[in-house]
Amino acid sequence: MTELLEVRNLSRTFLLADRGAEVRALDNVSLSIGEGEFVSILGPSGCGKSTLLEIIAGLSPADAGSILYRGVPISGPDRHRMMMFQDAALFPWLNVLDNVLFGLRFVSKLSAEEKQRRAEEFLTIVGLPDCAGRFIHELSGGMRQRVALARSLAPDPDILLMDEPFSALDAMTRELLYDDMQRIWQRTGKTIVMVTHNVREAVCLGSRVMLMEKHGWITLNEKITLPYPRSMNDASLATMAGSILPHMQRAKGVL
């Protein structure tokens, strides 16, 4: 059986402008992600998480190795592999609805009315049914990230890559989004890969948690079997997170 996504022996080195110094961001990294999984990738700053996600998204090249998507090597971006960023990256010249419609622009099989309906449907799913006409500067940070989520999900991608999607939000907004994220994931059945610094967040959302260390090396890869929906304040979740935290702290010290 082929996995949805396979990362094989991936390497990426950055040349720094400064005296030809090099950074080995990823060194021979391999991992695989199955259809419908929610994989949380934890790791200290600078270990190569964003680099990995951007290569999977096709935004950035690898020096060596390959990404197999349904068994086929990827070349460049594709709307079936959608990516979300720490900043919502919404377009401020468009209103909320038009931002969501932007993602649907490249889905050729839908008519204009279907796109409109789909955009409204996903705004409802992310909890913003009444904000279609608003401009981006009229939204809070949490609302922006919700719109970005609707924009990413509306074109019906197979896999959603999220690079620290909640880290710029306040704790309360974040907790609300954790609930919504679980609900949306279960409802849509998407495959999600989320990068985070927050161990509890990783355990709360992920069906699997990976710990990445320097050069992208995966040193921990654990299934989380706690039943959904999960609450951040749940005792068994805290225990689980507590068992991973020392690894994270060690990884931080090593880097």
Binding site: P77, F85, W93, H137, P155
Partner: protein, 255 residues
């Protein structure tokens, strides 16, 4: 409401006092009308030249020159800005030239314009275009270059190709900068045209600048002052009627 009236009333009163003092000086003071025409004489010139059709025609001639010359300058400037973005060779050749020529006061183009095109319309358009195209092109280049990389990544993962990326992301994202360049270009074009009309003498189709020039030759200071007033009003109104509404709309959308 009352406050608004008060706010508008004070400058009006002061302005009226200023005009009255000016009129009194001219009537009582025995100042030569060649040095200082009275406001009444100046106004009389406005009325009579309007009735004869001389002034309205000059306004029309000047406006048609500014609109055509400016439109060409904006189109050329945008084209150059985009080409600089597309080709490094073009950029490294044209950008230093543009930076240099931008510092050249536009009146300096007039002698060359006359040598090349004679005392003609073409010479005037040449001065207007050379006076304003560089500001437009440099700010277009600058604002295209400063489009956040994140917008481009977001559009790419949604499936935007090169053309779509340019049309639907780069240009709208750069629009505020392009607009402020266009506004600067308008100010330059207006000043350039006035220099050109005063400097380049053609007998038919006299514009406002030519009326200024003839006013000086005839020692008709009332004409000079009246035409200056018209030039000021046009400069003021063009900003209010063209750029302020666009800027307001942009501010409403983007915050």
């Amino acid at each position: 409401m009352k406050q608004a009236v008060k706010k508008a009333a004070l400058p009006l009163v002061l302005f009226a006092v200023f005009i009255a003092v000016w009129q009194a000086v001219c009537v009582k003071g025995g100042v030569s009308p060649i040095l200082l025409p009275s406001p009444a004489d100046t106004f009389a010139y406005l009325v009579s030249s309007t009735r004869e059709g001389l002034l309205p025609e000059a306004v029309l001639v000047t406006l048609s020159r500014i609109f055509l010359g400016y439109t060409i300058a904006v189109l050329l400037g945008l084209l150059f800005g985009v080409l600089m973005h597309a080709s490094t060779a073009f950029k490294s050749t044209v950008k230093p030239v543009a930076l240099g020529l931008q510092t050249l006061p536009s009146i300096c183009w007039a002698p060359l314009a006359i040598l090349w095109f004679g005392q003609s319309e073409a010479a005037m358009y040449f001065v207007v275009i050379m006076g304003s195209v560089w500001a437009v092109c440099l700010s277009a280049e600058d604002s295209i270059r400063s489009v956040p990389a994140l917008y481009i990544k977001a559009a790419k993962v949604m499936g935007a190709g090169k053309a779509e990326l340019f049309k639907s992301v780069i240009i709208p994202a750069a629009m505020p900068g392009i607009l402020s360049g266009a506004k600067l270009g308008w100010a330059f074009a207006w000043r350039s045209l006035m220099s050109a009309e005063i400097y380049i003498l053609i007998t038919e189709h006299a514009g406002l600048g030519q009326l200024l020039h003839f006013g000086r030759e005839l020692n008709a200071t009332d004409q000079v002052m009246a035409v200056m007033a018209v030039i000021i009003v046009i400069g003021f109104l063009s900003d209010r009627l063209i750029f302020v509404p666009i800027e307001n709309r942009m501010r409403r959308v983007r915050g």
